[in-house]
């Protein structure tokens, strides 16, 4: 009974006293915004936008069969600047090297690339990048060579 009276008082009291109508109780959105912010921070900090690509390289297995007609050249990466092509020393960015590699592409000759064991993987891939940019070169990668 008391509950009924209380609800009636709550309903009619503002009308009788000419008070502003009590507003409907709304759900507070503050915790929702808090959660949204936490989610936002999580996704901002944990998301990565780097695009992963792949570099397809032929292994020595593909050129392992004896192919007497195919001329193969050997490149040995010595460090981040120099390499040996058929035991001749060249700089990575030398025009002479680029011209030689261009010739290999035109004559359909293959190249076996290896690196000294202390040459970084990034250097090796940068070089493969560099010679792949010259054209469709027949390239295979071999195990490293110890110093």
């Amino acid at each position: 009974m008391s509950k009924l009276y209380l609800s009636k008082i709550q309903r009619w009291l503002p009308v009788l006293l000419d008070l502003p109508k009590p507003r409907k109780q709304s759900i507070s959105i503050t915790p929702l915004i808090d959660v949204i912010f936490i989610l936002l921070f999580f996704f901002m900090l944990s998301s990565t936008f780097t695009q992963q690509k792949q570099f397809e390289i032929k292994t020595a297995a593909s050129s392992g069969q004896p192919q007497p007609l195919l001329i193969s050249h050997k490149i040995l990466l010595l460090d981040a600047r120099q390499l040996q092509l058929d035991k001749q020393l060249y700089q990575y960015n030398s025009r002479e090297l680029a011209a030689l590699l261009q010739g290999f592409i035109e004559r359909d000759e293959s190249v076996k690339v290896a690196a000294l064991d202390n040459v970084k993987v990034q250097v090796l891939l940068r070089f493969i990048d560099q010679i792949s940019a010259l054209g469709n070169i027949k390239l295979s990668l071999s195990e490293s060579v110890s110093q």
Partner: protein, 137 residues
Amino acid sequence: MNLLSAQPQTRQASTLDDSMVPAINIVFLLLIFFMIAGRIEATSDQLIIPTSVSETALAHSEAEIKIAADGVIVLNTQTMHSAADLLAALGKLALNKQLLVTCHIHKELPAKALDPVLSAVRKLGIKKLNIATQVQL
């Protein structure tokens, strides 16, 4: 006095609420952007893949080899303790089909670290090896 001051306070509060609406909208948009455009993956300083200008998107392969900065080789979540382990595990995967192998290697490692993988793929007659790279920004 309290009754008089109650009205402006409510108005002020509602004005504040209203001014927050665009901010909340932007936060929602940012959240949706990061959820859709971002990719969540375990990143570590121990495995930063090399950069290249390759345009070929990384394809899914049955054999994912990860070589971290400490030189530990992991094949599909299984740690390899030696080159022989890697050869055996890859051999099992390569039994029935032409296996596609992708190697994620830390860029600062020496070329020597790639030898177990190159040796294994050569012995198993796998002709192509994919090396995961990232676009240089």
